[in-house]
Symmetry: C2
Subunit: 366 residues, 2 copies
């Protein structure tokens, strides 16, 4: 699989949904496979909350395979012998694209909490500039899970003529009150970390790792299903020799301690806050009198809306709600509820059923 | 309603399940109504995680009515013109009974994190000493919701001849992996508060209020149902004039900020940790080869097991599991799934259906 990693600088100034302007920005990208001469085989994959540009394979300098490596590759569901797959770290992220850890030209200091608020629409605008840069006039498919699925939906709404298919997986047209509440708890935990300093921790040479760790522990619970956790850990006691913390009793506590600790070393706290805010505010129907049917009416892309039965964070009702509105709007869409052992995280993992749905959708005629 | 508040000192030393010994302890109690001359009309109500002895009415020095005031009182579901209701703050709590905020005789300092680990069984043992003190040989009913329901179940197991009826509401015979995980996140948040000092905050004149606040915000989400939060708050934006925090956007965020803040002023962080650990470890079947049927076999009390349809923290499967084991054990039990608008918290609030179930159970022949 031909893999190219590239950081691309854009001179364009980007006016954000908030009204603020980013005067130039950088996007960290990876591409897999080859763009054909007609430039008609391009697939954009959009990352979820804590994902990044590294979606497949193991590229230089990376130690882990990409977040959708089970799906993207030569002969895989999104077959890189046929398709040219584009992946990027979104603006506001912390893996190479412009975001809170970037040095601001004006101050010579990291943006920190001063990095402007970004939205799902803003990400789509930045991705549109990336498509222009790559000479891609129309995506064969835009696909993503969770917050990535929201971007796929927004693409279909924002650029009806520039996207043939949108795979909207484990996603929602707007998150629930409970989801907003859970995001607020995560933000509260991070902001009250003694090393957060109102978001200016980098310029002080500190990191709010405790806050990030606990926020991720909470997030992790919401990404998994109860049945999966029960099957995997049950009420098994932790082997004392490998305790992450002296107070740990059960294996599941140790697992969360470990996962949270690892995450806190690789993610930026301001990005965490900014990404959750983007998730909270996503609600494309708000520009259409809060009418999702009206919002979807101009879509020309074919939609695949997929939910997982064990997902309690973005349950199937969210997917069904998009599908019902799509039917009322008279656009081309299919809904499927998939078996998934991993709760919300099921969108990351291969299953025969999931792969068949996605592969047949991608290879179908437009 | 005759109400008596009393702090009772016990000279007895109490050997805890952990093997540690409390040499003497105090229980803060409230009673409602009058004990009859035969002492056969006594009802014990056991509080849940953050509850206390103040279960009904508004007594001296209290500004809020008790946690089960909708259920307990003259002419109410648990009718204090007929029954003598006993309520207490459990040991390890922070509302007057011996717990982490108590001054330890040996050191002259608050116990803090050195207060011994307590279990649901330990609470039942302390309540048994309270019954002896009051001259009550047999409870007409022991009742409670959530962690309180676990105490009611433990009473029926520990003292088959001293309890006629057990109302086990919104409870479980052991909590799930997901529940343990959520408790661990709450503990992690509290313990990493810069003012926690490994639990010795009182002797340093500090309070880990930020940690308690965020832990409670998380808890609050789990106590409510998604549909209740959606109905009540939806995605309504917060009126800017009443924001608890400048970064708040939605009403639900403000509500959680407010609730968390209030809680952090009234609860003790070590008690929070200790209570969640007691909840995690509750599993009476563990002493019966992990066989709940065997564990329930000696019960003589009649059981009422009630779950609420909107409770996702302790879902109905937990109640059904106890009921199925009770049926197999051949003991007298009834299970009911109740409508409840408030998720797990539904056990606190009156509804016709709930009150009828509980009242008829209490007034039935043994």
């Amino acid at each position: 699989m031909k893999t190219v990693s590239e950081k691309i600088s854009f001179g364009d100034s980007l006016t954000l949904e908030s009204g603020k302007v980013l005067s130039g920005f950088e996007l960290m990208t990876e591409t897999y496979g080859k763009l054909n001469s007609d430039k008609t085989n391009a697939v954009l994959v959009c990352h979820a909350f804590s994902g990044n540009h590294h979606a497949a394979g193991i590229s230089d300098g990376e130690t882990k395979s990409g977040w959708w490596d089970e799906i993207i590759g030569d002969g895989k569901t999104i077959d890189t012998t046929k398709f040219f797959v584009v992946s990027l770290n979104n603006i506001g992220g912390c893996h190479g694209s412009s975001g809170p850890t970037t040095i601001a030209a004006e101050s010579g200091q990291p943006y920190g909490a001063n990095f402007p608020e970004v939205s799902v629409s803003d990400w789509v605008e930045a991705q549109k500039l990336l498509a222009d840069h790559l000479g891609i006039n129309c995506w064969e498919m835009v696909a993503g899970g969770s917050l990535g699925g929201m971007q796929a939906l927004q693409w279909a709404i924002s650029y009806p003529e520039k996207i043939k298919k949108a795979a909207i997986i484990a996603a929602s047209s707007k998150i629930s009150t409970q989801n907003i509440a859970l995001n607020e708890v995560a933000r509260e935990i991070i902001k009250k970390d003694e090393h957060f300093h109102n978001g200016d921790y980098l310029s002080k040479g500190e990191l709010p790792k405790n806050g990030l760790k606990a926020a991720r522990m909470l997030g992790h619970i919401t990404y998994l299903s109860e049945s999966n956790m029960s099957k995997r850990f049950g009420r098994k006691l932790q082997d004392p020799e490998n305790k992450m913390d002296a107070d740990v009793n059960y294996e599941v506590e140790n697992y969360l301690q470990y996962k949270g600790e690892q995450f806190s070393k690789t993610f930026d706290a301001n990005s965490y806050i900014l990404m959750t805010k983007a998730m909270d505010s996503f609600d494309p129907a708000k520009d259409f009198d809060n009418d999702l049917v009206k919002c979807l009416q101009n879509i020309q892309a074919k939609l695949l809306i997929a939910s997982f039965d064990s997902d309690w964070l973005f349950p199937k009702e969210y997917g069904l709600d998009i599908q019902m509105s799509a039917i009322k709007a008279g656009i081309n869409s299919a809904y499927i509820e998939l078996d998934g052992d991993y709760g919300h995280d099921s969108f990351l993992f291969y299953s025969d059923q999931y792969a068949a749905a996605l592969k047949n959708f991608l290879n179908s005629n437009g």
